[in-house]
C-alpha cells in the first residue's frame, strides 16, 4: 500500500533527525543535508538502505542525484514518485 506524502515526510524527517542527532529546528524540510555536512558517505548508504526497507523501493544508479536526496523535501518527492510508479 502506498503511503501519503505527509506520512513519508514524517518518517524521513524522523529518520534524518535520529541519525544526525540534530535539534529539531536545525534541519528544516529544505535544509541541504549533504551540502551542510549532516550526512557523510556512510550516512548516505544507510539512508538508501532505510528508504528501501521502509518504503519498499529499489534505488538504481540513475536515482543517485542531488535532486532526489539533497533535502527532506527532495527525498519525500523521490519516494512519492518511486512508490507511484
Amino acid at each position: 500500500m502506498t503511503q501519503n506524502t505527509s506520512t513519508i515526510r514524517k518518517k524521513v524527517t524522523q529518520y534524518v533527525l535520529q541519525e544526525t542527532f540534530a535539534e529539531k529546528n536545525k534541519i528544516q524540510n529544505d535544509t541541504l543535508i549533504f551540502k551542510e555536512g549532516y550526512f557523510d558517505s556512510m550516512g548516505f548508504i544507510m539512508l538508501i538502505t532505510f528508504l528501501e526497507e521502509e518504503f519498499g523501493i529499489k534505488t538504481i544508479d540513475t536515482d543517485l542525484i542531488e535532486e532526489n536526496f539533497e533535502s527532506i523535501n527532495s527525498i519525500t518527492g523521490f519516494i512519492d514518485r518511486k512508490t507511484q510508479n
Partner: protein
C-alpha cells in the same frame, strides 16, 4: 613573505629531487637512531611505488644491512606483487622475507565473513569460481552527494555483475578485508621488535589526508617518510632512486580484493596527475577560478572537487584520531 606563485600545472614538481632525498634520508637517520633509538628499519614491500620508494630511502639512510623488507602475500594477492617486491629488494641489496598471511586471515575468518556478505547480495557467488571487488561511481566526484559503493563480481568467463552495496554488507566486507592490513601490521611489529628496528609506514599524502588507509592497519607505523609527498613527487623520487622501471610503470592497485582493482577505481576517482594538482590548489588556498583556468575546467566543477576533498577530510577524521583520553584528571 615572498609573493605566492601563480597556480600552474608544474607547481607540484620538486625542483631539486636530490636535495629532497638527502633531507628525508638525514631526518630518517636522526629519527630512527636518536629519537626512536632503534637500530634499523622494517618496510612492508608490496611491489608498489610507495613501499618501493620507502625501502630505497631506508636503504640509503641505514645501509642495506640495517633494513628488512617483508613481503606479506595472501591468497587474493597478485603474484606480481611478490615478484616485484623481490626484484626491488635484490636491486637495493636488502634482505627480504616472505610471510604468507593467508592462514592467519583464515583463522580470523576474514574470507568467510567477507564471502557471507557478498553472497547475501549475489547468492550465486562462489569464491572458488568468482572474483569480487568494491567499486565507486565517478559521478560522485562533482556532486554534493557523497560516493556510494558497488559490489562487483566476475565469473570465470569474465562476465561482470554489479549492484549497489547496502550499508550492512558494505560494512561487513570492509571490516573483514581490514584484517589483511591489520595482520600485516602485526607481522611488521613482530619483526621490528625481534630486531629492535622501527617500522616505516608507506602512505603518501593523499592516502593519509583523504583517509585511504586502515586504522591500526597500514595507518600504523613509527615513521612515514613520504607521508607529506604527492604521488607525482613520489614518482620523482622513484626515478631519482632508480626504482625498477617495471614498478614505476605499474598502475597502482589496492591488491585487497580477489578481482584486480586500481586505487583510482576504488577510492580516488581521478588519475594521480590531476588529483595532485587539484589537491595542491585546494590545500594551498588557490581559488577554484584560478585552478580551473589552468586546468582547463569549469569553476563549478573545481568547486565541487574542492568540496569533495573537504568532505573526505571531514568524514575520515576518525581514522587519524588517537584514542581520546582526556576524561578526567588535572
Amino acid at each position: 613573505m615572498p609573493p605566492r606563485k601563480p597556480f600552474s600545472k608544474d607547481i607540484i614538481l620538486l625542483n631539486n629531487v636530490e636535495a629532497v632525498v638527502n633531507e628525508i634520508v638525514q631526518k630518517l637517520r636522526q629519527d630512527v637512531l636518536h629519537k626512536l633509538k632503534r637500530l634499523g628499519a622494517i618496510v612492508g614491500i608490496s611491489g608498489g611505488i610507495d613501499s618501493s620508494v620507502c625501502l630505497a630511502l631506508a636503504a640509503k639512510a641505514f645501509g642495506p644491512n640495517k633494513v628488512l623488507g617483508v613481503m606479506m602475500p595472501e591468497k587474493d594477492s597478485s603474484p606480481d606483487s611478490e615478484r616485484l617486491a623481490q626484484k626491488l629488494a635484490d636491486k637495493f641489496g636488502v634482505k627480504a622475507i616472505r610471510e604468507d598471511i593467508t592462514s592467519a586471515l583464515s583463522g580470523y575468518r576474514c574470507y568467510k565473513r567477507r564471502d557471507e556478505a557478498v553472497k547475501r547480495i549475489f547468492p550465486e557467488y562462489d569464491p572458488e569460481t568468482y572474483k569480487m571487488k568494491i567499486g565507486i561511481k565517478k559521478t560522485g566526484l562533482y556532486s554534493n552527494l557523497p560516493s556510494v559503493f558497488h559490489l562487483i563480481i566476475i565469473d570465470k568467463d569474465g562476465k561482470q555483475q554489479e549492484k549497489l552495496l547496502p550499508a550492512k554488507e558494505y560494512l561487513q566486507i570492509v571490516a573483514a578485508s581490514n584484517f589483511k592490513q591489520r595482520s600485516r601490521m602485526s607481522i611488521l611489529y613482530y619483526h621490528a621488535e625481534t630486531l629492535y628496528y622501527a617500522v616505516i609506514g608507506t602512505p603518501n599524502k593523499h592516502e593519509h589526508e583523504q583517509g585511504f588507509f586502515v586504522k591500526y592497519g597500514d595507518g600504523v607505523a613509527d615513521l612515514m617518510p613520504i607521508g607529506n609527498l604527492l604521488k607525482t613527487q613520489v614518482y620523482q623520487l622513484a626515478e631519482y632512486l632508480c626504482i625498477p622501471r617495471e614498478i614505476i610503470e605499474k598502475t597502482p592497485t589496492t591488491d585487497t580484493y580477489s578481482a584486480e582493482q586500481t586505487q583510482e577505481e576504488f577510492f580516488f576517482q581521478l588519475p594521480f596527475d590531476l588529483m595532485d594538482r587539484y589537491w595542491y590548489g585546494f590545500e594551498n588556498g588557490y581559488s577554484p577560478k584560478e585552478v580551473a583556468k589552468v586546468m582547463d575546467e569549469t569553476e563549478e566543477r573545481v568547486k565541487a572537487l574542492f568540496n569533495n576533498f573537504e568532505r573526505k577530510i571531514r568524514t575520515t577524521e576518525y581514522l587519524r584520531m588517537m584514542p581520546i583520553r582526556d576524561y578526567y584528571g588535572i
